[in-house]
């Protein structure tokens, strides 16, 4: 009897002690969030103040139009180089798992993705009407007759000029309308003589000026097919190179090596003009003390090449939908915003300074706004007008690869090598490299 009780007590204590020692550390497994279905759209872009800001406004506009929609637009900021690298890595590996729903790609690079991985992108032909956008944007954003991209900003180029320096040199803004490069060099020399200021600033490693010249004549580094190098015997390129050398020899160019020096060049008043894309407007206006001293005139054209116009483009990018879950929702989202929303484009102009390429947007109020910084000039309207004149070219797959070759060859050219040899050598290098 007594023994039984003792045993019972001992057993009870043992059970308790065992319970104590086998205590487990239960960490709740809250990792691995489940996929949100198709209600979330991930966007990759690179400039918080520019394209990311534009996407945020598009998201707001979509919400306003579809208050019941549960679509969540998740914008992720990545450096442009990172986006390119990640896209390449993901697409090379044949997986779309780590890729976004919507991605922003620079027009110069777009074809290298579309042609290499057409299946990775979602065909937007049913959502987007190419005719609603500036012609020149359609080349880079479509492939094989299918529209893959929704054109975003216009890289329409203009010539920003300092009116005060020009006046000192004896010129008016009217004298610079629709000029060619010969005239530009002549004015530049006068400005240098009268004011001591350089006409423009250039980075020897960036041939953006030559690209603009070549496109203004409806030509490119590559032929229509987008893959064959088009250097030797390219009249537009030849004239552009010659003009480039003339500019340099005229000693009206201030050299720079990077973006901050480039911006510093005009902000400090060291140069009298900037031939570049409209996206520089914000940087120009950043120097408020120069208000009223600037004007924008049409991009100078090549004088001898046939078909050359006073309009060109530099940069610019477009939105693409990846072939992943949620692509339809993303396409619908783009259709309702960047694809058609005129009001959104007015907002982009006034709040972000981004000029779109939707033709209908040009009729909007914001586009008619006069800008006091530019002496009351309606620069957005002007840019929109020039946008429509930009020749449509196929940037092809190898723009930057060829430019790297040209940068070297241009130095040889400046050092005295004959232009035909320069282009022939470049062509030979390009053919071996890009094939």
């Amino acid at each position: 009897m007594e023994l039984k009780k003792l045993l019972a007590v001992a057993l009870a204590s043992f059970v308790l002690l065992t319970a104590c020692s086998t205590k487990e550390n239960n960490v709740p497994d809250n990792g691995g969030a489940a996929a949100e279905g198709t209600k979330e759209v991930t966007v990759w872009a690179w400039d918080k103040a520019f394209n990311i800001g534009a996407m945020e406004r598009a998201s707001e506009a979509y919400k306003a139009k579809n208050p019941d929609s549960e679509l969540k637009v998740n914008i992720v900021e990545n450096a442009q180089a990172d986006i390119i690298q990640k896209l390449n890595a993901g697409l090379n590996a044949g997986t779309t798992k780590s890729l976004p729903t919507i991605v922003l790609i620079e027009d110069y690079r777009a074809q290298s993705f579309l042609q290499a991985y057409p299946d990775a992108f979602f065909d937007l032909t049913d959502f987007i009407t190419p005719g609603d956008f500036a012609d020149y944007k359609i080349g880079p954003t479509s492939f094989d007759g299918k529209q893959y991209g929704v054109p975003f900003d216009s890289g329409v180029a203009g010539l920003y000029v300092r009116t005060d320096y020009l006046e000192t040199a004896g010129y008016k803004v009217a004298d610079l309308q629709n000029i060619d490069w010969k005239k530009f060099i002549e004015i530049g020399k006068a400005v240098k003589e009268k004011t001591g200021k350089a006409m423009l600033t250039q980075d020897p490693n960036d041939l953006g000026l030559i690209r603009m010249m070549v496109q203004s004549a409806g030509s490119w580094y590559l032929k229509e097919d987008g893959t064959t190098p088009n250097l030797a015997g390219n009249a537009a390129l030849k004239e552009a190179a010659e003009t480039y050398k003339e500019l340099m020899e005229a000693d009206i160019v201030k050299a720079n090596s990077d973006w901050s020096q480039f911006v510093g060049g005009f902000n400090s008043g060291d140069v009298a003009s900037i031939p570049t894309g409209n996206w520089i407007t914000a940087s120009v206006k950043a120097e408020a003390s120069q208000s009223g001293k600037w004007a924008v005139v049409p991009f100078p054209k090549l004088s001898t090449t046939a078909g050359a116009v006073n309009a060109s483009n530099l940069g610019g990018s477009s939105w693409y939908v990846m072939n992943v879950d949620g692509k339809e929702a993303a396409a619908e989202f783009l259709k309702q915003t960047f694809g058609s929303d005129v009001d959104l484009y007015q907002k982009l102009v006034t709040e972000i300074g981004a000029i779109g390429t939707l033709k209908a947007a040009a009729a909007g109020e914001a586009y008619q706004q006069a800008d006091e910084f530019f002496g009351g000039q309606k620069i957005v309207e002007d840019f929109a007008k020039w946008t429509e004149q930009i020749p449509n070219v196929n940037y092809g797959m190898h723009t930057y690869a060829i430019e790297d070759i040209l940068v070297v060859e241009m130095q040889n050219y400046l050092s005295g090598k004959a232009i035909d040899d320069v282009l022939k050598d470049a062509q030979a290098q390009a053919e071996t490299q890009v094939k």
């Binding site: 007590v9 990077d258 901050s260 510093g264 400046l414």
Partner: protein, 591 residues
Amino acid sequence: MKGFLSKFKYHGLFIKMFMVTLVSIVSVALLTSLVTIQMSERLFMNTFSITNSKIISQIKANFESFNYSVVTATNNVLQNGVIKGFLTSPEMNTIGSLKSYYQANQQMERIQSNVAAYPVTMTITGINNKSYSTDSSYWPNSLYKLQNSELTMNTLVYPKRLLYQLDIENISGSFDVDPVIVASRALMERISGNQYGILYFAIRESDFKRFYASFTSGGNDVAILDRSGTVVSSNRQELIGQENHDLLRYAQEMEQQDLKYMDVNVLGKSSLVLSEYLPVYDFYLVNMIDKKEVLSEMVDFKTVALICVGIVLVALIIVFLISRRLTKSLTLLARQLPTIAENNFDNYITVTGSYEIKELGKAYNYMLDELNDYIKKLIQTQKDQRNAELSALQMQINPHFLYNTLASVKILVQQGNKEKAASTINSLISLLQNTVSNISETITVAQELVNLKNYVFINHVRYGDQIAVNYFIADDCYGYHVPKLIIQPFIENAFFHAFQERKDGHIYVLISREEQTLVCEVVDNGIGMEGYDHNNPAHTSIGTSHFFSGIGIRNVHDRINLLYGEDYGVEIVSHIGEGTRVKIRIPLQKT
């Protein structure tokens, strides 16, 4: 309240036992868990600090390999004539400067491959105000500002050193404040010592922290401090740029005293701090481990406490039940013991409970048995003693009386009064027959009356009949029993002591019933007793009074007391010159 107290009194043992066990169990549980938790904490902290010092050396290695890349790139720049030319040559025409920019770019791109593994921007500035940056999109935002910044000043103060500094002055863009860590070094000719420019390596803090960020976790933070105590980099964003002198002091103390870790209070939290000096950076790498947060992941205090409380509760319940059982029988025993005396030692206790208690109960009951036996024997002995006394008393009376009577008969015979002598002898025979034959038993009042009359007759024969004896017996009293010769001694006293000064007198014998008491009174009208205390008649010593001396009056009283208890006995009331009244009280007895 009183009931509660008395209850408490009986449960005293249980409460004491239980309280002692309660306190012991609770303190053992508390102490054990505290000591265990502390031991495991210490063990964990020790392990943690060992692991973390390894992690710190890993981080240090990361930093060193980064520094190695930077140093290699720096040496390449220092030895590069093209770059020197770019930074020193005076202003030239467009083509010339374009060429120098182009060449600088070529050289810098080649040199940058040294640091290509890291997201670093290289910037060079020269005494000719030319500069080149591999990627100026985030640093520097303005060359002019850079030239006048503290960063550049510090670099020029220590031209031969590669300086690592936190820079928030020169970051470009108005958005996100993402500070930059800049390694800078003055560019100078080796032999002449002429400075011709400055080389900067800028890395975003967010990229810099990758060297250690993967080792951090909640409660396990890393901060990089410079010599002034400014937090250069940390996985805790809010600390960056702040000065933390406490942390710096700890780091310096650890370096000087070669401590492995310190247990201190950092940012209001009790933390374990590990530190490593990074000499090439002149930074302190500080690892802060928030003990509370880290421990909460390992030791689940709540569960431990709950289990302890559970065990204690269960143990207490078990202890309660067991000790309750143990003490219950004791309590019962304690309750029963005080009632023993109340009932002539007849309260045997119920034997229950554990073996020990049972034995105790048995022993106690055995003791009661023995006690009762003893008491019975004692009572028997006392009774025997009384009977012996009584018979001794009667034996005492008889020769005395016999002597007197025989003396009287002798006188009668001498006087020749044969008849009277014969009747006296008859009375004496009857008296002797009644008394001698049957000593221990009682007789009825009627028989006693016969005895008395015989006795009185004998006395009358001897001393004459001047002293009259009258009997008043209540009718219902004849049948009651009285001890033999209980009244006779008092009549004898009255005869021989009450009437010493005169010859005539009266003696009355009254027998009546008062409720359950038989009252026999012997009243005389003699001289009364000397020495009678009127104020305290009960204390008048009957035995010492000369009035009763010689005859066993006192024995009578004692005998009645012995036989019937204290309520009964002999009372005497006496007044000098008026007489004496003796009252004998005995219980009514039919047998």
